[in-house]
Symmetry: C3
Subunit: 129 residues, 3 copies
């Protein structure tokens, strides 16, 4: 599961970078805490970070469950797709929020597969043995 | 712990469904990203999803800690209470936010028990052996 | 890893306390759900809670990865620094958001060390053996 651990750290580091971009936009556009609105570009960076948080709470458990019941290698591979998808999501969202669908799909799809594989595995072991 | 794994996947799927409802309300009420305000019903769906995210970060670790130090079966049972509580919370919140207390309690109570059981177990093993 | 489990429960309990403070401020300043804006002090409490959520999604996995590849004792010790840092962050943020940097640093630094230790450990085991 060590490959999965590497993917987990990379996904968290990616999230932290998104957070730094929010902090940078806060300074650049003069959005003083605790406000989280007031400039369109700031809000895009903020939504990218928040949406990534929503994805991580699904991604990390799903990654380990898939890895346990199926293949750690395949789990890590799906994790790499997730990481790339998040980069696409962030880049497109900041340019034009209306074009965020593809990047979102590229992170949602691997999460869906990881969850399905984890669920099927856990059900099989729980009830079919 | 396989029952606990099933509960974890179900809780994440429930959260994803809440997210789809936010996306649906975004379209229905014309709230364009990155905005997260502008229509009362949209905001209710959004808060349901956000509050569920806040619960999941406590629920998932608490579920596994309770399961490790106490009973995986009891952990899974408390998890089912959580899942039902979240459905009650979501349904009542969207109708009338002032009536969200019972649903909140039905998810907070199992989390509190899971956390307490996990903490007591970890303290006993750490210091009382 | 039982010390790490204790730290995890304490970090979640701390987050729950921050959530209760948000609920308290909601009542005190008359911010009715689903609104999350409308009074400066409420918004400060809310941002403390939300920022802590963002930290927890990094902190909890990082704590266990560091613990697995390095020392559980050191992981727990860094976790205690995180817990103290969050208290400083919350107290200073509510008084004056402009002074939140030190508390933020005191939680970010242990997370950065935990992540780095986890990544280095996972990479070594994956590729250098």
């Amino acid at each position: 599961m060590t490959y999965v651990d590497i993917v987990t750290v990379l996904a968290i580091l990616q999230f932290i970078v998104f957070g730094f971009k929010v902090a940078g936009a806060r300074g650049k556009y003069g959005i003083r805490a605790p406000a989280v609105t007031g400039h369109e570009i700031f809000e895009r960076h903020f939504r990218v970070q928040q949406n990534t948080l929503e994805q991580l709470i699904a991604f990390i458990p799903a990654l380990y469950l898939f890895s346990r019941y199926n293949s750690p290698f395949l789990a890590a591979g799906l994790g790499v797709v997730y990481l790339i998808g998040r980069e696409v999501y962030a880049a497109t969202y900041v340019k034009d929020p209306a074009k965020r669908s593809m990047g979102f799909g590229l992170t949602f799809l691997p999460i869906a597969i990881l969850l399905a594989g984890g669920l099927i595995g856990a059900v099989r072991v729980s009830f079919l043995r």
